[in-house]
Symmetry: D2
């Protein structure tokens, strides 16, 4: 199928370039009868929106979404939901200078060799602007999941060298970084201010958590829930790594340490990140993702042009010095899409399953 | 589609339980005219096979594969290739004791809640035995890729706490660990011997590298090449994390450090792991995967039974103390399957693309 | 996957209701470098457009399509093509009276039972208005196919009881019926005029032909080219039957009559309709489709309401007395989409196939 | 996806050639807990099996199926069901003479041009032998459907020029033709005896009916239930046409005649064939399919060889003079597979839908 579609039953198909006329998405498979309006989508779109603090790009996009189908009299009808976001702040002139250049760490070189052509304005299809539609679609998924008692939330767990241990969800929405520890925020702000002075960028780590997931979501082999989460999260711009639960720390763990023992009161730990054998266990689902530093920086870099000649490149324009800062709602959206897709897949096959074994309490 | 199928054009569908009559696979989409025999598949099956050293399970499986379709007069015909491996060493009696128990860190609990039933013999479908068919299918993919000059190889890059920097491919096939540094092998052997005495298990990190990949493989958005690799590699039993290129090290990197600069002679580094914007750049494609410690250990652990009652669990049977040791050919297989699938997808859409820009030399 | 997506490599995903804000489509997998503008799509949209003669609905829809992505500097980029058509003539008031009624032969009853809700305005998603986007997407497919020398054309081969043997393509675009015999047009007009006076509707048969298709398109088993054409054509509103080549006439044929013999100069007949074993033979591909009479007629009919009570139904509004009249461009679009999808699939797997056997001349 | 896989949630993937070692199939998505054994599959395999009367090919195939996975302790586990049928009667010598010939109306010519190679023994993958696996998979689908009160049955409705109006299901299994009218059987036998003397073959029409289907199965647009049935039925070897309900008779019908009026006691007719707007209405689902005459006949025909030279062809071997005779269980199987797939798809999205409107009685 199309590389621009995600999901098997709850599917999200997107189109649109950074500086084209509009972004569109078609969200298919949503159960009928869900109350839904643009306002539901706008919440997460606004969380992702640039320009809300001095630490993100100053590009001004209203990111106002219009629902053009699939909702009637305020409720979903079960038919596909069409979404439209007009691009309003298309400063194409900023980009024409790099039309024949391959910016390091961008997709310029690879798009050129794949397609023989590319929309060079703002990265075209490779721009993170595309993720606005993921966030809008994810907001629909989140609302359906909420009806099943499932909540998907994310936070920044590392900014460059600064690790951010989780403290409280209460703090996450109160700062520009989705930082779960209010005491850490000043350190992050100082780090970002210095970064801008250095004309440089930095990576970040995001953690996404789903609470309330029932046991049984995921397929045993290729479509394991963790495999699909890895797919979905790695598909986000700039992501270079995905972990489930203990992740790479598992390498140095011993079996006696890693295995999450069970008691009648619940699991005693959650190294598994809520997934065993590719299937949800009822514990919180925990994923971490690594985002590389923004490629667009004003410090000159060596590169080549389409003729293969050496060129120095300075990426002007308005860019996030840390793309990870705005990645939290995107990661939440992708996890929500995966979970809803698997919830639907699971009830398709296993709606009649009855077990008397109790679901264990979450850790 | 089915959770037991991987790929869009080069597809691999598998079935089979650890202790059922047989494993089967159907490999579809293979180009016609490829010379192919069972011997081609047996090479990698033997690399994965248990019981070849004292460091892996002593289960004796011949793992002899039969090609039952899709090959005629020694060549592929373009029709689906049916593969069959009979299970010959099914000691089902070893497992009946745990029939009503949920072993910690196994899929027992999740399968039970998903399906209401499970084949408890040797883990059934959740057993790593299933990966034999991935390896067989991957061997076909490797042979097709070889015709395009692409080579996929893997090695162990960490065993428990012991990091193994890459030295040479020449060493990898000469020891039981797929260790790329012959000088490290004695340390690994000593570690494993102690581990068995401790009745414990440990995790591992595997690195897989594809050389010779042309630029242009991968799709821009959801089916980015890195996203599909993450999916495929995370779908391997026991994998808890996947990195592309610099992976989680990207988090603390600055943009000036991470970006791989280009010169007319080639890229100056490969933090990207050979993928930019989800599309191959022509550099080596590099992925790392974290495998958790084997869950089946003889040190007793706390658990519950299907009635929700507390039980102590000792997993008997013949198990690998480090599942990562045999994971290298599996990881190679999955990377090969993904690359071939995307090679076919790319030429479907872009067969006519002509660019004059030279492909840069690999780092 | 989504029921609103067609195709595996060249995919068309649509959304939109008859009286909602807009129709949207995402066309994915189009090869890059194709010159494309709205004008290319408008040609077929205008051929399908209602209100161009007294024999079709008088609903006035400009059906102006906007390309919102995937085209840059006048050429396709290989990224998904977003299409948008605003609904401008939404007379919702016409429909509120039937909000709780199930109109006979409409989808009202089945949507109600499936979704528990429905957009009753003009049939909502079940309206043939949805096919506008198929026509727009098909126009893209046609343009790509033209570059391979493939031409897809259709005509009306029967209107109610009036059979219309094929005479000439030259006539097809010169009348309101896509009638290939100018001498038949007055008879069709008289029939339609009487039909309106009778307050009734009638069925039609459409024939679609693809010339210039190379041998080798189609997959052997489930995705036979004829099976996919049957799927695509039967998915058009009101279609109740699909034939390939001799179709149902094959039932009474003998083998000596049906088999298309081959000579060095070509096939001697085309009962196969250009497809053997599910794969194109190089002969013209010929499909026929039966369309039922329009369900919306002003002659009262018996029905029930959502409470299960008996009701008389008269469907007011502006309706085509023969939905088949406007079906020709839709059928062409669906055949073009299928052919392009299979052309891409075929070259993915078989791009390297070389045979010395000549392609036979077309009949 | 693979052209050898059918279905989205209940998926059937097959492999195997007429004269290769074996046929295999992987049936995925079956709900767990279904009692299942080889005997369940053998019933329909025996109904399709050749050599049971003088009117079908005398090829002797035991067609004994082995379930190699997915069933444990007599019940399905929810994991994929692997099926294996060994080919036991492979008289390859019969076929070597036609190795370089293209038999008229066979897939020889098209496979040759598509793949550049083909397994010429008995038609290889293009042989109707492949349908054995469809029948086995369909038997699984039928058994699941039976649990929902759905029954799928077929009969021969025309043999060559002899139309066979439906009389009674009781007769269908009592004769070699699946003829629903015992009074017609002598006429059919006489016709077939003459046909063999004429060294010729003939077409047939098969009708398949599903009773007990609940309203709501099918998707509105491209995956309409009728479109998927057309796909599945047209994918059967030799099928040249598919009708739903009134089918091609709809062309000459008027709207007042075709529309199935509703009363509180049920629908008054079933021209729709049980499907409105692509979704099941609760009425019996009725499909007709046209099968062409067997291509393999002993009357010589003109053809060419791989060098493009003129050749006379006589197809020896053991062939059915009317492939339609054994097609009934195959058509039932494909309808059952489609219905189960859509039943699962429907409950994935719409499991929570509640309507108070009564389901109408079936006609």
């Amino acid at each position: 199928m199309s590389g621009n579609t995600y999901g098997k039953l709850f599917t999200v198909t997107t189109a649109g370039e950074s500086h084209g006329p509009a972004l569109v998405a078609i969200v298919d498979g949503c159960p009928p009868g869900l109350p839904l309006s643009e306002a539901d989508l706008q919440i997460d779109l606004d969380r992702r929106k640039p320009g809300t603090s001095r630490h993100t790009t100053q590009r001004q996009e209203a990111d106002e979404v219009e629902i053009v189908s699939g909702v009637f009299e305020g409720k979903t009808t079960g038919t596909p939901i069409g979404l439209l976001i007009r691009n309003t702040d298309q400063k194409s002139k900023d980009y024409s200078a790099i039309k024949d250049l391959f910016r390091p760490a961008h997709a310029d070189y690879t798009y050129h060799h794949k397609y023989g052509t590319r929309d060079y304005r703002g990265g075209g299809r490779s721009s993170a602007r595309e993720t606005a539609m993921r966030v809008a679609a994810g907001a629909i998924a989140k609302k359906v999941l909420a009806g099943f008692g499932i909540q998907v939330r994310g936070y920044m767990s590392q900014l460059g060298p600064i690790e951010i241990p989780f403290k409280t969800w209460d703090s996450v929405e109160d700062n520009a970084f989705f930082c779960p520890d209010p005491a850490k925020v000043p350190e992050l702000e100082a780090y970002m201010d210095q970064l801008r002075r250095d004309q440089d960028s930095v990576g970040a780590k995001i953690t996404v958590v789903a609470d309330g997931v029932m046991p049984g979501l995921g397929e045993p082999i290729f479509d394991r829930l963790d495999a699909e989460l890895a797919h979905a999260l790695m598909s986000i711009n700039a992501v270079k790594g995905v972990e489930i639960g203990a992740g790479f720390a598992s390498v140095a763990q011993r079996g006696t340490e890693h295995r999450d023992e069970l008691t009648p009161d619940g699991f005693l730990s959650n190294n598994a990140g809520g997934i065993l054998g590719g299937i949800s266990s009822g514990q919180p689902i925990i994923a971490h993702l690594a985002l590389k530093p923004t490629s667009s920086i004003t410090t000159p870099g060596r590169s080549i042009d389409v003729a293969g000649q050496s060129q120095d490149v300075i990426t002007k324009g308005r860019h996030d010095p840390c793309v990870g800062i705005r990645a939290t709602p995107i990661a939440e959206a992708m996890m929500a899409i995966v979970l809803l897709d698997h919830l639907l897949r699971n009830r398709a096959q296993n709606a009649d399953v009855q077990v008397s074994t109790p679901v264990l309490g979450q850790l």
